[in-house]
């Protein structure tokens, strides 16, 4: 097991209910630095709710969230991002009328605390702009850097989701179905990008595509009805009869 000190993200006894429906039950998670964890589970297992709880878009009814040992349960979403806890969205949540270069530069300016400077021209922040361009280049978006986001191909928009997250310099990155809706011929670049994410970032991703899960994840957490059914190596998860029954067997690879 990983030592306590290496854990960058930890949840303790996380609970959340909507009315009488318990969507998160006593959830304990521990994500070590550099993790490549996948979160799987059938529809309605509470995966997205869990992400929303971790990022602060929802408040848990009880339990704690610790980022690098610090309690962030009551911290706002933006402040968590500035401390290195960033997510991407399952459905593109981009800035349609901004260009990718502008959007990524904006994220960098927010990170550097210079987004509020109204007296200096944007182009005076040369470092932020060239850093933004470099992120886009690494993700293969250099050609469309100055095109409005709404004119980008869907796969490129998915990549921009990741670019925006990387611009915040995350320590923990939560990817909510990064490949959702991407046609097969556009997905190769996306997989390469996910594979090439900087090693020190702890990554937790939700994914339905089992090919992606088994090729990228070093550990898999199986969530069923808001609780962890099991957490183990991919091979062990694949062979577990309970997982086969609740998840793999019914919905996917038969």
């Amino acid at each position: 097991m990983t030592k306590n000190a290496d854990i960058v993200l930890r949840t303790e006894g996380l609970k959340k209910s909507f009315g009488s429906l318990q969507v998160t039950r006593d959830l304990d998670l521990a994500l070590p630095a550099g993790a490549r964890y996948a979160l799987i589970g059938p529809n309605g297992a509470g995966k997205t709710t869990l992400i929303n709880l971790i990022t602060g878009e929802m408040r848990p009814d009880s339990g704690r969230i610790l980022l690098e040992g610090q309690d962030v349960t009551r911290t706002g979403t933006a402040a968590r991002v500035r401390r290195g806890l960033t997510r991407t969205f399952q459905i593109n949540a981009l800035f349609p009328d901004l260009t990718p270069l502008e959007a990524v530069t904006l994220a960098i300016c927010e990170r550097e605390g210079i987004a509020g400077q109204f007296w200096r021209s944007l182009t005076a922040h040369e470092q932020a702009i060239s850093e933004g361009f470099e992120i886009l280049r690494q993700l293969g978006l250099a050609d469309v850097a100055t095109k409005r986001t709404r004119h980008l191909a869907y796969g490129q928009q998915r990549l921009l989701e990741i670019a925006l997250a990387l611009a915040t310099r995350p320590k923990v990155l939560l990817l909510d179905e990064p490949a959702a809706g991407v046609p097969k011929d556009e997905s190769a670049m996306l997989f390469r990008v996910i594979e090439a994410l900087p090693e020190h970032i702890a990554v937790l991703f939700i994914e339905h595509d089992m090919d992606i899960v088994f090729s990228f994840a070093s550990r898999i957490i199986v969530l069923v009805a808001g609780a962890v059914l099991m957490e183990a190596e991919p091979a062990e998860v694949r062979d577990d009869p309970r997982v086969r029954e609740v998840y793999l067997g019914s919905a996917h690879h038969g």
């Binding site: 991002v81 300016c109 990170r111 361009f133 690494q138 050609d143 090439a196």
Partner: protein, 337 residues
């Protein structure tokens, strides 16, 4: 797998310098802009009998710019911005009529600072609400201010208007004349200054953040933005500029009518922005020019029904150029990809 090796295949010829150059080109002064500002000076020579109207247009354009900053850039829908225009007008007017201080430049500063202060306080309420509630809150604040000024008639003159304003010569040199030479020079110079400030704001990283809020406010926290602070800041700046334009009206006409705070003024300025095009600064100026020129011409023909013409114009623009006249022109010129 080696990261560099994986990704070199996707490298392109576009250099980082090119992207910086592209951003610079977006904020550079264009020939059209320089031509436009030079053209504003032609009024002195070609339309000397319209200088008072021209100065009304300059004042209204500055007001429209202040609203464009919140509505066009930050996406805050407001139907109560006359509140800050009126505050500025009364502040400058009262400074002269009640306190006996008619020096115009300090009057402008005083009015602008007061409107900005009230805007700052109001901004804490504004950033808490969205959509319909936002329209109602701004509308409500505007109506409250109007009724407050009406109730304080001992101070404001109520429906009779505030009289007894005496504006001293600008810099002690240029007295306000009957034809409006000084008035137009003064309002045009202030408009230009307000425009320069606004232009710098929209071209800054802060301006980019405002567009981010407008484009997707829900995403802003996810990139680490405490965007409410941005909104409070722009609302305060906008209120200060609106106050500046109100003060100009008080000083150039030496009277303040209750109408400066009216809902009609708040609504008209939104109509101007829709006509000219939101989120472009020049759309605000163009909208003000068209609105006031049409009003001037139509009310000459029929003083009662001039708004019919505005309504018709608005319908045509909204149907055929949903992004305003400037937006439509930019589209035609292919500068809007």
């Amino acid at each position: 797998m080696n990261r560099e090796a994986t990704l070199t295949a996707t490298q392109t010829t576009q250099a980082p310098g090119a992207s910086l150059a592209w951003l610079r080109s977006r904020s550079r002064w264009s020939v059209f802009e320089i031509a436009f500002w030079l053209a504003t000076l032609l009024t002195f020579y070609f339309f000397p009998s319209y200088l008072m109207l021209a100065s009304q247009i300059a004042i209204t354009a500055l007001f429209a710019i202040s609203v464009d900053l919140v509505l066009g850039y930050a996406g805050i829908i407001t139907l109560g911005h006359a509140m800050f225009f009126g505050l500025g007008a009364y502040a400058a007017g009262l400074l002269s009529a009640k306190a006996g201080w008619g020096e115009p430049l300090t009057g402008l500063l005083f009015a602008s600072a007061l409107a900005g202060l009230v805007g700052f306080v109001a901004s804490f309420l504004i950033v808490r609400v969205q959509h319909l509630a936002l329209i109602m809150v701004t509308l409500g604040l505007g109506l409250l201010t109007y009724e407050l000024a009406n109730a304080l008639s001992w101070l404001t003159g109520g429906t009779d208007g505030l009289r007894g304003i005496d504006t001293w010569p600008i810099l002690g040199l240029f007295d306000f004349d009957l034809w409006g030479y000084t008035a137009y020079s003064y309002t045009l110079a202030t408009l230009f200054l307000g425009f320069l400030i606004s232009r710098r704001i929209v071209n800054s990283s802060f301006g980019l953040a405002l567009r981010g809020v407008r484009e997707n406010v829900r995403r802003m926290p996810a990139i680490g933005s405490a965007y409410r602070g941005h909104l409070r800041k722009i609302y305060t700046i906008s209120a200060a500029i609106a106050g500046l334009s109100g003060a100009l009206l008080a000083q150039t006409t030496n009277t303040v009518a209750l109408e400066v705070l009216s809902f009609q003024r708040s609504a008209d300025v939104v109509v101007m922005l829709i006509l000219g095009g939101t989120g472009r600064l020049y759309g605000a100026i163009l909208g003000a020019i068209i609105f006031l020129l049409v009003r001037d011409q139509l009310s000459g023909i029929n003083p009662q029904y001039w708004y019919f013409g505005i309504g018709l114009l608005l319908m045509v623009v909204v149907l055929f150029m949903p992004r305003g006249i400037l937006g439509g022109l930019a589209r035609l010129a292919g500068r809007d990809q």
